[in-house]
């Protein structure tokens, strides 16, 4: 028997679902930050930035490896919906779909490049600290 009466504490009451944000209820800036502060989003945007030209899905996936197609699709939809990325479909055989940064998307790049620079400059220190802590604490 299942007299369980599932506790069901507070099922679903999030303010900003990171995966599929329904509607930015609060601050737009926070919404934009959440969009960008995602593991794969930055990789994708950088790949598009480096390409500096329309790039096909498959190629994009290789550039952002080891991302999965599922995740890449998801994030591209999200970015497209946010106006940072544009998708162009060619009605031809074999099918071709190209992605590119929009003007709005390009405005993001300086900040992302800054982040990337920091990572390149201080990544070594971070890893060093990490390894040291690993040695000390076990």
């Amino acid at each position: 028997m299942t007299p369980t009466t599932p506790p069901r504490p507070t099922p679903a009451e999030q303010t900003a679902p990171s995966g599929e944000a329904a509607a930015p209820t609060a601050c737009p800036a926070a919404f934009a930050m959440e969009l960008v502060a995602h593991k794969w989003t930055i990789h994708i945007l950088f790949a598009l930035h480096r390409a500096d030209a329309p790039i096909r899905f498959r190629k994009l996936q290789r550039e952002t490896a080891p991302i999965t197609q599922k995740e890449l699709t998801k994030r591209l939809r999200e970015l497209e919906r946010s106006g940072l990325v544009a998708r162009r479909i060619f009605a031809e055989v074999p099918p071709r779909v190209e992605y590119r940064l929009t003007d709005l998307g390009r405005t993001l790049m300086p900040a992302l490049v800054g982040l990337h620079r920091w990572a390149e400059q201080h990544g070594g220190e971070v890893v060093d600290h990490w390894r040291r802590a690993e040695r000390e604490s076990g």
Copy 2:
């Protein structure tokens, strides 16, 4: 036929677990990026930046709401281990633990501020695009 033979494709073989990166195998820069490109990490670092002084756990949680204690603890340990955040424990009652940015952590802030500025300047556009797509596609 016994369809048993569970497909069992490739159970667990990840290269870079984002949650608890064991050891930065590849590029340190990539490791640092993954560390920063996390939903809560940026919020936490900004809170520490704004405080500009040692801040207690509870206070930090309020500043980074609606983060959970579990997540805050996890990310703080990660940041501490990476050398971006320092933790100081006071052996007193009631217990007190203070967190602060390290010098290394401060080097990150300019880049993060840049990101934040972008979010404040263009967050409106992002939300606008989002809403428009929502209206057009259903």
